[in-house]
């Protein structure tokens, strides 16, 4: 093994700054955000962890790909939400998987799944482990003999490329950079860039309906899926490669978003594209977030379909170095492998003028790194790393995201911001709530809220839970979805259960029972164990 991931936070072990570096970072950050201790804590090292003994012993035939080592079990105990990082940082591992399997191919996945199911164990498919909703956490209840986490990352190949149809057959464990590198050999790209891109996997994206690069049209991975192959405890579920179909209920749409409850996704044919060579981007300023939102509504209904259309409120623009807090910023971009996109950009900017938008320059994306758009991009990529430092320095950092129709948006934004701000103040004493749009639709935006607040050390989990509940209640009450692209997992269940149609829940549970009769697959996610 070359590089190992940190067992408690974001990124590789060899990327973790030294304690002195963390201290320096904390000293720099604290005055900017207005809170956080100058003296950061240190994470509990791996050597000091004491995990409960594994309850399962893999059969000899699987021993070579199964691990019960503390590092493996710790790494696969959590996703990477704030709550996860706090617990892992503090060495709190109450529900580690008993065994972590690292299959090399689909046959080995099938063998592990069969063993788990036959043993009365739960089986949790695991890609990059970047879930922020408890999607891979082995909290499965009492009805299981143990938990086997199936890490798919050795299934990391682009198996076939169809350059005529622009599609590629890709294994589920391929990470963002891994699959992009292989596609680049053919001049192709998937261009699905969630914030977790560096570590998350294709299978995880499909299982959780991940949101990616494109702000319009292809917002979720869903629309890039041509066909999916999954292993259920009863065998293979594979759809036909088709550009489109109307043959009854879509089999793919039942697997997409199933979050590991129906099967282990092992590969998919994905729609890819040629690398864009024409680009235009601009940072458009608006006096207020509301004015920017009106411009984005007009853009979303214009049929121009910008690739990037991310509206950032004044507070978040300031926080990310993309503004001074006096204006909202719209990060606007078009790209194409086929044609010059300046005419599109001109129309889009023309639209912004009508809402008081102004901009200083327009140019190629490559040249924009020094400006506000570039600042924001850098902050976006750095955020998951920064969270580890926040935990160390006692800053509570949480995000929640949703989508809501335009008619409700102004009231939604006011009410949710106000209620969550009040909750943050009540729970933490102070703190800030900011908002941006990650994706936009003709009928509404996908707002994404960021919370930064002073944490009381040792009370972070309780503080997080209180704020999460306030935020989720506010989102649901004012017409949003409990998640636009972070998935449901275990953390969103109370609100997801109220949001979804009850009869759909019954139908989904019955569908699961038909392909996973022992309820082995990721119990507690989406559906309760029987």
């Amino acid at each position: 093994m070359a590089r190992r991931l940190k067992h408690w936070g974001w990124g590789y072990e060899d990327e973790q700054p030294s304690h002195d570096e963390v201290r320096a970072a904390a000293a720099y950050i604290a005055p900017q955000v207005g809170f956080g201790a100058a003296e950061p804590e240190r994470p509990v090292p791996l050597s000091e962890l004491s995990l409960p003994a594994p309850r399962l012993t893999p059969p000899a035939s699987l021993a070579g790909i199964c691990s019960t080592e503390t590092y493996d079990r710790a790494l696969h105990s959590y996703g990477r939400s704030y709550r996860d990082v706090v617990r892992a940082f503090r060495g709190q591992f109450d529900h580690p998987p008993d065994v972590v399997a690292h299959p090399h191919d689909e046959a080995e996945v099938a063998a592990v799944l069969e063993w788990a199911s036959d043993s009365g164990a739960a089986a949790i498919p695991f890609g990059g482990g970047t879930s922020v909703v408890g999607g891979v956490e082995p909290r499965v209840g009492d009805g299981y003999e143990g938990v086997v986490t199936i890490d798919l990352k050795r299934l990391d190949r682009v198996l076939e490329v169809d350059e005529v149809s622009l599609a590629a057959r890709i294994q589920a464990g391929a990470t963002g950079p891994g699959l992009e590198q292989q596609l680049a050999e053919h001049g192709l790209t998937l261009r699905h860039f969630p914030q977790s891109f560096e570590f998350s996997t294709l299978g995880g994206w499909i299982a959780t309906r991940a949101g990616g690069h494109f702000a319009t049209l292809y917002t979720h991975i869903d629309d890039l899926v041509e066909s999916v192959r999954a292993l259920t405890p009863l065998g293979v579920w594979q759809s036909r490669r088709l550009p489109g179909s109307g043959a009854g209920v879509s089999p793919d749409r039942m697997l997409i978003g199933s979050e590991g409850t129906l099967g282990v996704i092992t590969e998919a044919w994905m729609r890819v594209r040629r690398k864009p060579v024409h680009r235009a981007s601009a940072g458009v300023r608006f006096a207020t977030f509301a004015a920017g939102a009106e411009a984005v509504r007009a853009l979303s209904q214009s049929g121009l379909y910008p690739t990037n259309c991310r509206l950032i409120d004044p507070a978040e623009a300031k926080l990310t170095g993309a503004g001074d807090g006096t204006h909202a910023l719209l990060v606007l971009g078009f790209e194409s492998a086929d044609h010059d996109v300046q005419p599109w950009m001109s129309l889009a900017l023309g639209c912004c003028v009508g809402f008081g938008g102004s901009w200083e320059r327009r140019g190629e994306e490559g040249a924009a790194s020094a400006d506000s758009v570039g600042s924001w991009r850098q902050a976006f990529l750095r955020a998951p790393y920064l969270r580890d430092t926040f935990v160390a320095m006692g800053v509570l950092s949480e995000t929640f995201e949703t989508a809501v129709t335009w008619d409700r948006f102004p009231g939604f934004h006011a009410a949710v911001s106000e209620r969550v701000q009040a909750a943050v103040t009540a729970v933490c004493g102070s703190g800030a709530v900011s908002c941006r749009f990650t994706h936009v639709y003709p009928d509404g935006p996908a707002p994404y809220f960021t919370i930064l607040a002073p944490a009381r050390r040792g009370d972070e989990l309780e503080q997080w839970a209180q704020i999460k509940a306030y935020a989720s209640e506010a989102v649901l009450e004012h017409g949003g979805t409990i998640t636009h692209h972070h998935a449901v997992g275990r953390d969103h269940r109370p609100w997801y259960d109220r949001q979804r149609p009850a009869l759909f829940a019954d139908a989904l549970a019955a569908a699961k029972a038909a392909v996973d009769p022992r309820g082995a697959l990721n119990p507690g996610v989406l559906i309760d164990p029987e």
Copy 2:
């Protein structure tokens, strides 16, 4: 009741040409297609029908909205495939519904559904009755005490319009013209124009994943659905209005394409748009269908997203008066409510040049009616009416449609055309097979085949069945879907069952059983009765 639909064919009774007019039409058509009798048959009149006695008697509370009249039962016995029209024309009504209900509102739909389910009867939701796949035909097997067809057409209102989000809440029984007229009062339009537009309904479109106006991006009704409300035998299944969501498996995507097996769709929030005011259209000629297909592939992968992009082969262009048989025709169009689309058209035409495309004129859509594009449009709209005359004059007329990836398309087109042509010749002695694209995707086209052949009077159903089986086998074997937008119904079941993942079929059957435990809803469609 003002106008009545013909009980045996397309359109209203008052539109049916006189026998002399049919004879004149037959005399005109026969030399053009090369076969068909100069002396057409006459349909069996309603007064001569003798239907089996109804097996069900509605309770007094529902008597006012239920009918057992011969006209109602005959009208609801079939969809409008060639096979359906032949049977209805000949007065062959072996499986009429026992009762036809005409509820005025959702409460009445619920009452009818409850009565049907409690009576051990099957319940078939019925919109426009334009199915061409046996989707509304009461062939439900022996396990039922009778069949109640629930005609939704009295639920025909646009209930709410959200002009901010561009969405409208529309009842399922609204027909294309009915809902467009109501939306037009707000300057809005759904712009979903299947060939059946005049009679088919929103609920039918959603239940069958209908294909519409847009050749790219919004090809199926699926993507225009914001939320759906349906009645199952156990109660209401309604999703939240959301512009996008990633909260688990999509509840809407389970109802969309369920073809009346999971619930009776009663209304939906639909994404609408402002009426387009900018248009550009062109008819581009290519030397061959293959050259045109390569151009369409390039267009589909360009990111230009033409509204219309229908490639018609030389034979079909000639048949529809849109060509002389020496070239393929691409009907290309862009439209927008927001901006001039000539720049898009210029790029698209530039793309066509690279594949030998040529065109005579470009202009506004309104001015195009006299040219080849207009000829094709008129033929498209006339086709369902023409089929009635074909039946009368002994011309077998059948269509089948699919989608396939671009890498397979050349081989697919050659093999399917050849095999179906051979089957048509073997079964009918002569006849022609032509092809067009109805929709296109970056990864493949949706080819639509039309068959015209001399029918042997009295043997049409057997001839149809043989040709249908050959065509379906060829489509499946060469990588297509059994249907891109005509749905599965009962006619496509043998091939659909082989196409879909077997475990998905089990999951879907279990989902149905969870919401329709007596299996009352449209038995035999998608899923066999228990």
